[in-house]
């Protein structure tokens, strides 16, 4: 006499025994992951086709919006020039240096201000006033001070990115569980120890969010500074292309900046996930 297992999640323990299945939990609806990647790619392909068709069908003047194929050709040409790669390097240099400065300053300032309630209260109004000031307001100043040097790019990038980091770090510090902090204090942890064992682990995810947001903003400002001021980089190439009427090249370069932005965002998320996964498991051990 053999019993046949008749359900998923049941373990048949053989002839003559009672089926001792583990009752299955309510089945979760799994996301069809492959499906949505395919759909996403289809969407992108659709966009390219659409942009190819529009000017060819005469809906749009092809002097204003060249067909995708022409833009792709212009892009291929650009990729072959030394100028292009130099510009990419210039943009990324300004972006990277500005980001590092902004993140360091933002994290330090955020932790110092966040850790002391008095400072937080005293600086709150100043931060709320300075934060919304559009960094582009500093463009004329940057031009006067640094002309078309890297300095003007850095001025804009650092100013804009700093606030992103600072705000996130302040959120992170505010998120610290007061009970965890009190526990630490009752064990005689001094300020530095509390920062290290309580504040930093709580704030770390926020720091990463801040870095991710700052990275995006930094790219935008870097390219903007190059575009408007004329500092060397992709933005400047775009301005040159526009001035000389090289429309396909202009679009190609714009696409490159978009792709760069996407790449930076993906890289930031990837980095964030990897580091925080490690961090979470470490946290698991340290948590009370």
């Amino acid at each position: 006499m053999r019993r046949v297992c008749t359900g998923i999640g049941r373990v048949c323990t053989g002839i003559g025994r009672v089926c001792t299945g583990i009752a299955g939990a309510a089945p979760a609806v799994t996301r069809p992951r492959d499906n949505s990647t395919l759909l996403g790619l289809a969407g992108l392909a659709g966009l390219l086709l659409f942009l190819e068709a529009l000017p060819r069908l005469g809906v749009v003047n092809d002097a204003y919006l060249p067909p995708t194929s022409r833009i792709a050709a212009a892009l291929a040409d650009e990729l072959a020039t030394v100028e292009f790669w130099q510009a990419v390097r210039d943009t990324l240099t300004g972006w990277a240096i500005g980001l590092v400065i902004a993140v360091s300053a933002g994290v330090v300032a955020g932790i110092v201000i966040g850790a002391m309630p008095v400072l937080r209260a005293a600086t709150a109004s100043t931060i709320e006033f300075l934060r919304p000031i559009p960094s582009v307001a500093l463009i004329p100043l940057a031009v006067l001070l640094y002309g078309t040097d890297l300095g003007s790019v850095l001025l804009l990038v650092v100013y804009a990115a700093f606030w992103q980091v600072l705000v996130q770090v302040l959120y992170g510090v505010a998120d610290v569980d007061p009970i965890a902090d009190e526990t630490a204090r009752s064990f005689g942890f001094g300020t530095w120890a509390r920062v290290r064992y309580v504040l930093w682990p709580t704030a770390l995810p926020y720091v990463f969010t801040g870095i991710r947001l700052a990275a995006s903003v930094a790219l935008v400002l870097a390219v903007t500074a190059e575009l408007v001021i004329g500092a060397p980089g992709l933005g400047k190439l775009i301005a040159v292309a526009q001035n000389s009427g090289a429309v396909p090249v202009m679009y190609a370069l714009i696409a490159v900046t978009g792709l760069l932005g996407v790449a930076i965002n993906l890289a930031a998320r990837f980095f964030e996930r990897r580091t925080l996964a490690w961090h979470q498991s470490v946290r698991g051990e340290v948590a009370p």
């Binding site: 019993r3 998923i8 049941r10 089926c19 001792t20 299945g21 009752a23 299955g24 089945p27």
Partner: protein, 265 residues
């Protein structure tokens, strides 16, 4: 009257097929209060969602007042377990209770009456302008019950409504459900994992097996109609019934059935 016959539900996700409900058949007569108990993961929620018309069964049928249920029916009101997520936080208590009535196109004066009566019935008069998140868990669940009651349903479905509430509040809410049931003469299907609660509340208790679910057993609760937390639960008959149900649930957890396996031999 609620008739469930041969209800079957299979979940398909990619390659996997999970048979949550295999063959469920039971009836709830008009005006009855029937409790459904079962081990964890036996598909109670799936069953309730099929009955409520939120989920389409893979086989069998659900008939409400003679008509097959193919979507949420106007004669049916549901109280969810997660009251915090079921009430809309952007609306006041009054607006939450009133919203389904607006959908039913009930005129304004009648709506106001229904809302006031429902809130009174659950003991929440005076909280109309409060927001759900300003209230305690027990009070929020009362709002959800008021919303169901104001809807004037013929059948009330309750999905483990007191699972997330503390024990003392739960006792009050159980008495509230019985009081409302007797007053409004609605049909109530009450799902719970708490055996004591099932026996305390129900006229009948239907026990479910573990997944793939069938009806394991049914008993009639022959306790007096007037029940209270103290005396009813101390009644020896209560203990007998409780033991019986408990044994059935344990057997269900082990996967054994009291029905003879047709493949034996």
């Amino acid at each position: 009257m609620l008739e469930v016959s041969g209800l079957r539900k299979i979940y398909r996700s990619g390659e996997r097929e999970v048979e949550a409900l295999r063959d469920l058949t039971f009836t709830v007569d008009n005006g009855d209060l029937v409790c459904l108990v079962g081990p964890s993961g036996c598909g109670k929620t799936t069953l309730l969602r099929c009955i409520a018309g939120l989920l389409e069964p893979s086989g069998g049928s659900v008939r409400l007042d003679g008509r097959e249920v193919s979507g949420p029916a106007p004669g049916l009101a549901m109280v969810f377990q997660e009251y915090g997520r079921s009430l809309f936080p952007w609306m006041s208590v009054r607006d939450n209770v009133e919203l389904p009535l607006k959908q039913k196109k009930i005129p304004k004066p009648r709506r106001a009456t229904l809302v006031a009566e429902a809130l009174n019935a659950v003991g929440l008069e005076g909280t109309e302008t409060a927001y759900p998140w300003q209230l305690s868990g027990g009070m929020q669940q009362r709002v959800a019950i008021a919303r169901a009651v104001a809807y004037e349903p013929s059948t009330l479905l309750m999905d483990e409504p007191f699972a997330a509430v503390d024990a003392q509040t739960r006792a009050d809410l159980e008495d509230l459900v019985r009081a409302l049931w007797q007053r409004l003469k609605v049909t109530v299907l009450f799902i719970t994992h708490d055996i004591d609660e099932a026996i305390y509340l129900g006229q009948r208790v239907v026990m479910l097996s573990s997944s793939p679910t069938v009806v394991q057993d049914e008993i009639t609760v022959d306790l007096p109609a007037a029940r209270d937390q103290l005396h009813t639960r101390a009644d020896p008959r209560f203990t007998e019934l409780r033991t019986h149900v408990y044994e059935q649930i344990q057997a269900a957890k082990r996967g054994a059935r009291l029905v003879v396996d047709s493949q034996a031999g």
